[in-house]
């Protein structure tokens, strides 16, 4: 008690004498600043160490690199595969995610909302290796029939040119699994903003005689549009960097093709690293790290785009 009074008196004195901070405060606040700086250093470290390890591959001649191709020729097909798989996943997942978000925010009975939301969140928590196993053992075999049907009926579209794979290890299946994986992310963002739509707008629309769909179209969707777009871009970023599901499912051959249902598929950057890294040494490792750097750059641009959209909306 006595000690307390004296320290308190000391504090008052310190406060009175121009607010000089006490030792405990100084230590604690420097710890907090140190943690903040550590994170910035860590991120700079990620970029720096990747650059250092990638440099040998950049300066090496084509003959020394794996496959005897130049670095650009090595990475370009991988970039193509990465972007293709992720784009298809986004195209499939976003409409579904919006519908799921609308269901939870505006259609489902309020009592079920918590449970339903939790079920969708669980989808996001499932480890990617499990999705990979599910994709190759369950979805792949189940997709063989439909893919043969696509080849037969829609074969004139380049996407479904075929010949249809008999194992289901195709770009289409990989993209479907990616779509399942990013759906909860997009849907969480959409649900959040849908449920924040101002009550008075919604009730005003209903009071004017709008049906529920008209109310959603006129108030909820315009209100949530930019958030849905940024959520889609976050999902895209996730799909671009997703590794294990693609590694396990896709049967790769390094070609560039839009054919989604055949045996021969372009690989993705992440899957290529996961497949080749454990058995690589020397310059091959540097090449893989260089491709990782490219992936980092692509996802960075995507994510920053998403953040920019969110920031612009917040200003409005």
């Amino acid at each position: 008690m006595e000690v307390d009074t004296t320290t308190n008196a000391g504090q008052l004195l310190a406060a009175a004498s121009g607010g000089r901070r006490r030792r405990g405060d100084r230590i604690f606040s420097s710890l907090a600043v140190a943690a903040a700086v550590t994170i910035l250093v860590l991120l700079a470290g990620v970029a720096f160490f990747l650059l250092v390890e990638a440099l040998p591959a950049v300066s090496a001649s084509a003959a020394e690199l794996p496959g005897g191709k130049s670095l650009v020729d090595y990475i370009a097909p991988l970039v193509f595969g990465t972007v293709l798989a992720a784009s298809i996943a986004v195209v499939i997942a976003v409409p579904l995610a919006v519908a799921v978000a609308l269901f939870i925010s505006h259609v489902a009975p309020p009592r079920a909302v918590l449970v339903l939301g939790y079920m969708v969140d669980l989808l996001a928590a499932v480890p990617s290796i499990v999705y990979g196993l599910w994709g190759i053992f369950v979805l792949g075999p189940a997709a063989v029939g439909p893919m043969e049907w696509l080849e037969a009926k829609l074969g004139f579209i380049p996407f479904f040119e075929g010949p249809a794979s008999a194992t289901g290890r195709t770009m289409l299946v990989a993209s479907l699994v990616l779509a399942v994986m990013i759906l909860p992310i997009v849907s969480a963002v959409a649900r959040e903003v849908f449920s924040q739509t101002p009550r008075k707008l919604q009730e005003g629309a209903l009071a004017l005689g709008a049906t529920r769909w008209e109310m959603i179209r006129m108030t909820v969707l315009p209100f949530g549009r930019s958030s849905v777009i940024s959520g889609a871009m976050l999902g895209l970023g996730r799909a671009l960097g997703e590794t294990m599901a693609v590694t396990i499912i896709l049967s790769v051959s390094g070609i560039v093709t839009f054919n989604l249902i055949s045996q021969a598929n372009p690989s993705t950057i992440a899957a290529n690293i996961a497949l080749d890294f454990p058995e690589s040494s020397g310059l091959a490792v540097n090449t893989l790290i260089a491709s990782g750097l490219v992936l980092f750059a692509i996802t960075l641009v995507t994510n920053l785009g998403a953040r920019a959209i969110i920031a612009r909306q917040n200003v409005q």
Binding site: Q11, A36, L50, A99
Partner: protein, 342 residues
């Protein structure tokens, strides 16, 4: 037409339409000899949409008919989105249970051809995740405290921005980073448990910061001010008032972050390597982990292929159970122990 004398469909109309469509589709498919659950789902959805729209349009007019149609489409989309979840849980349980035994969690795989367990992977998972948590939580929590209690100016803006950037780092890139870091120090052949922890920390820190920041932000200011008014120094206010108030939320955030990284495969594949025996020292040698174990049992099955696949599924089941228990426990803790703030 006014609302009062408008004719409307009975309350049971949507359910009736869907049930009738399902029965009709089932009959049609069995007649065609092409019955399958997937086809039944698709056909039922289509028939129900058409039937509901036509019925409602003839009674209620086009606007309400379209409203009913959209509602049906949304419900169908939701069911469609749940199918993968249900199928996944069902298949993993069905295929994982046969491989799950006492041996699976107590024995390692050294010298056991076509048999053995995943004890080494379990130990590795616990050690790697534990070390990653021990690195990430202090840094992440202090950074969140910096953001909510101290931060201002350029460092704060930079931190907020770069935490966003960090959230988007693909897990495999985090693995490459840890590899590059340790390879520069120890040479390119290096594989250690702690490398995996470093990679996972890169993924975990931004999650911890985000969730902690959210929780600390909602601690009301009047609690802090009351504490200052009693002459308590700022750091003691944070430690004794702010953190205890937010404790349940902080713990929940950490548990969800752990659940997120415990199933990571890719970053560990490139940093901790693959091994058959128990290694509990993160500072020396290769270390197995459940996710990588499942992957390598699938990728390089032994002589007895099915036994290997069984073990891969068993590991997957174990992982899913761990992740779901962590998530559920986190939510329960939050519900049970959160401080009521008025």
């Amino acid at each position: 037409m006014t609302a009062l004398d408008a004719r409307v469909l009975p309350d049971w109309a949507p359910y009736g339409a869907v049930a009738a469509s399902a029965a009709f589709s089932a009959a049609l498919l069995s007649a065609a000899g092409a019955f399958s659950v997937a086809l039944l789902f698709v056909l039922t959805a289509l028939v129900a949409c058409v039937a509901t729209y036509a019925w409602s349009r003839s009674v209620e007019g086009s606007r309400r008919a379209f409203d009913r149609l959209v509602t049906l489409v949304i419900v169908a989309a939701f069911c469609l989105a749940l199918i993968p979840l249900l199928s996944l849980v069902f298949e993993v349980t069905k295929r994982g249970l046969p491989g799950l035994s006492l041996e699976f969690i107590t024995a390692d795989a050294r010298g056991k051809i076509g048999g053995g367990g995943a004890a080494h992977a379990l130990v590795g998972t616990l050690v790697i995740t534990g070390v990653a948590t021990a690195i990430s939580v202090p840094i992440g929590l202090m950074a969140a405290i910096y953001l909510t209690e101290y931060g201002g100016g350029r460092l704060r803006r930079a931190l907020t921005f770069f935490v966003d950037v960090m959230t988007g780092i693909p897990s495999i890139v985090a693995g490459l980073f840890a590899f590059a870091l340790f390879a520069l120090i120890f040479g390119p052949g290096i594989r250690m448990g702690v490398m995996g922890s470093a990679a996972l920390s890169v993924l975990m820190i931004p999650i911890v910061i985000r969730s902690s920041e959210e929780v600390l932000k909602i601690v009301p200011n009047h609690l802090r001010e009351a504490s200052y008014a009693l002459g308590t120094p700022k750091w003691r206010t944070i430690v004794k008032v702010v953190l205890p108030t937010a404790f349940a939320g902080l713990l929940t955030g950490v548990m969800i972050a752990v659940a997120r990284i415990i199933g990571e495969t890719a970053p560990l594949l490139v940093t901790t390597g693959v091994v058959d025996s128990i290694n509990s020292n993160p500072l020396s040698g290769r270390m197995q982990n459940l996710a990588v174990y499942a992957y390598s049992e699938y990728r390089t099955p032994g002589v007895f292929k099915q036994a290997s696949y069984d073990r891969a599924w068993a590991a997957a089941l174990l992982l899913i159970v761990i992740v779901m228990v962590l998530n559920l426990a986190a939510r329960l803790i939050y519900r049970r122990y959160r401080t009521e703030i008025r």
